[in-house]
């Protein structure tokens, strides 16, 4: 029996939702041909799911038929579910019609694995090509590269897609072997490395010849599943650091694991580790935007992030000797390390202090979260809070305040 488009959309969007990436930013594809779409500038979330994630792209699988049997995946071969597949035309029409109505920024296309990885990848690329050439579509296209792809296939994919991603999924080879018998890390890293080379070669070529077509201008990303296997935060964050450095990824996504149905190769959990996932993202941000190195965020001796407090506060409490920081004289890099002061406020502080002293009241108005920051800063004319100068004391006070604030909110 052939399923109608609505049924297919329901099944294939449902199966694709576990890929958490939704970015539509970082590309530079302008509308050059008076065609449809424009992928310059910042990403746009056109809606948000009820779990609070951004909906930016039409994120679907081409099909949920799959020859693999990865324990963590809904579409695994041994799972008894309805299998459907979109036709090329259906994907193209959905994308164009959704885009024209301003529902989406573009398409994120992935797939279950048919026959082998190159065969599947070629099908995905075929759709991207059709969109670019026949429909003159300049919106965002994110293509999933199935592990094990050959260099030729990747070269082709980069010509039509803005972003490509090969998912690592399981953070260590040992665990991967256990729950995804057909997969191995080599098949993931090889395409990643080819991608990295081709992206940087393309940048070089574009410097020489401006007409060179762009290759995956939005770069590449990956995803790791957290909590399905025993790897620690220390392990995961160092893996990310190496992916950012060696493979020059734009993003690493963390997906808190929760059971997509019973499979005895996996641990039994009742709830996705949402707090842990959140702490990992915070740590990732500190690494990418705040100038922290990974060993400042987490070390081997304490391999799990503190779930009760954010990693920046954790860092400050472990390094109290660096504080208080004088907001009128300290360098920008150090101001960024003050808990409760983010990138925007730090910027405003260093601009404003050129004109004169920044006072305690100014900080508050500029948006600093003073219930955190006050323990770590020195502002002219204000004594430091000496009553609580031990890490435990400060930690206790901040947590108590947060709790109190929550209580008043609900009463």
């Amino acid at each position: 029996m052939k399923a109608d488009i609505e049924t297919k959309l329901k099944i294939l969007a449902d199966a694709a939702k576990y890929d958490v990436s939704c970015a539509s930013s970082g590309s530079k594809r302008a509308n050059h041909n008076k065609g449809l779409g424009n992928a310059t500038g910042m990403g746009i979330c056109h809606s948000y799911t009820e779990d609070g994630r951004c909906v930016s792209l039409l994120k679907i699988l081409l099909t949920n038929y799959c020859i693999y049997d990865c324990a963590y995946c809904v579409s695994r071969k041994s799972n008894d579910i309805q299998r459907v597949a979109f036709t090329v035309r259906e994907v193209v029409e959905l994308t164009i019609n959704f885009y024209r109505r301003n529902y989406i920024e573009g398409l994120f296309l992935s797939s279950g694995i048919l026959k082998n990885s190159d065969y599947t990848n070629e099908k995905l690329i075929h759709i991207a090509k059709k969109l670019r050439i026949e429909e003159r579509f300049n919106g965002y296209i994110h293509l999933k590269i199935i592990p094990g792809a050959s260099p030729e296939v990747i070269r082709e994919a980069g010509l039509y897609a803005d972003r490509l991603s090969v998912n690592l999924e399981i953070p260590s080879e040992k665990s991967l072997k256990k729950i995804a018998p057909e997969k191995n890390h080599g098949n993931v890293y090889r395409p990643m490395n080819w991608l990295k080379e081709q992206i940087s070669e393309n940048k070089e070529d574009r410097r020489k010849y401006r007409k060179t077509p762009r290759f995956a201008p939005g770069g590449q990303s990956t995803q790791v599943v957290v909590g399905a296997t025993p790897e620690t935060d220390y392990h995961i964050l160092n893996l990310s650091a190496s992916l950012y450095k060696e493979q020059q990824l734009k993003r690493v996504y963390y997906s808190g694991y929760f059971p997509v149905s019973q499979d005895n190769r996996l641990p039994i959990v009742n709830q996705a580790p949402l707090v842990r996932e959140n702490r990992l993202y915070q740590a990732d941000w500190l690494y990418r935007f705040y100038g922290f190195s990974m060993d400042e965020i987490i070390d081997k001796a304490q391999p799990s992030l503190d779930l009760k407090i954010d990693p920046k506060l954790g860092y400050a409490l472990r390094n109290l000797d660096l504080f208080p920081v004088d907001i009128n004289t300290a360098p920008y890099e150090l101001i960024l390390r003050i808990p409760g002061i983010g990138l925007k406020t730090a910027g405003m502080i260093v601009h404003s202090r050129k004109y004169g002293k920044v006072r305690y009241e100014d900080l508050k108005k500029m948006g600093a979260s003073m219930n955190r920051a006050k323990y770590f800063i020195q502002v002219s004319g204000r004594p430091l809070l000496l009553s609580t100068d031990t890490p435990e004391g400060i930690r206790h006070q901040i947590m108590y305040q947060d709790k109190k604030a929550q209580l008043t909110l609900f009463n």
């Binding site: 959309l9 809606s47 909906v55 019609n97 301003n102 100014d362 108005k365």
Partner: protein, 252 residues
């Protein structure tokens, strides 16, 4: 003293010019439409004079960076109460200092302009995100909006670049004007006695046949893409406040 002006940016700039020329010290600058006379307050009517406005603007341009200069124009369109006085005070500080003060966030008007600009940018961004077009029977992709601020003058470029090959119309039902793109140029338009359906939506009778199908597919997609085990309505509402729901087929 209260100054009344005509509600245009040129009018406000004229008022600022007059304050300097005639050494006025206003306590309030307001457009006629919101005017509430105070008991002990005297009122002066400002007559918009493009030449005076040009002089103020030209001078501001030399004192501020392009970004700082534009931020005043952007903030003005927030239509927030007292935004005129904030712009007036900002100008006053600019005059009082030799150097450019647009990033001295210790000064209340400077900080306020920054905050209001940010609110405006966020609303503009939300319109980029939440406008939902429906195709009408004459092949125009049309959408109605009712933004918190008057953002229409700032959203056209984005849509023109993106939808270069389709005719579109975005209409602000609150302020009763819209922006129409005819495949060549954009123009502001005003409809006489527009006839909307409920929630100021476009009437189903003028839509292209089969148009509702896309709404349904989109809502279906939206539902399928949520992960119910991770449901977090607090976060959801933070991102999509309820006042925007009426634009969104997936929420209605």
């Amino acid at each position: 003293m209260t100054l009344r002006y005509d509600g245009t940016y040129e009018g406000l700039m004229t008022a600022i010019f007059d304050c300097y020329e005639r050494k006025l010290n206003p306590s309030c600058i307001t457009s006629a439409s919101h005017f509430q006379p105070g008991v002990f307050d005297s009122t002066q009517q400002i007559v918009t004079d493009v030449k005076k406005a040009e002089r103020v603007l030209k001078w501001l341009r030399t004192k501020l960076t392009p970004k700082g200069f534009n931020s005043l124009y952007l903030a003005f369109h927030s239509e927030l109460p007292n935004i005129e006085m904030t712009i007036y005070h900002f100008t006053k500080i600019t005059i009082a200092h030799k150097i450019n003060i647009e990033r001295d966030f210790r000064q209340t008007p400077v900080l306020r302009i920054r905050q209001v600009t940010k609110m405006m940018s966020r609303e503009i961004h939300r319109m980029h995100a939440f406008v939902r077009f429906q195709k009408t029977s004459d092949d125009i992709y049309a959408a109605t909006i009712a933004p918190d601020f008057n953002v229409m003058p700032f959203i056209g470029d984005h849509f023109k670049k993106r939808y270069a090959d389709q005719q579109w119309l975005i209409y602000d039902t609150q302020r009763n004007y819209g922006l129409y793109y005819n495949l060549e140029t954009m123009q502001f338009i005003k409809l006489n006695n527009p006839d909307w359906a409920g929630r100021k939506q476009i009437k189903a009778s003028v839509l292209k046949e089969g148009e509702q199908e896309f709404k349904r597919l989109w809502s279906q997609y939206f539902k399928a893409t949520s992960i119910k085990e991770r449901k977090n309505m607090k976060l959801h509402l933070q991102h999509v406040p309820k006042r925007y729901w009426r634009y969104l087929p997936e929420k209605y």
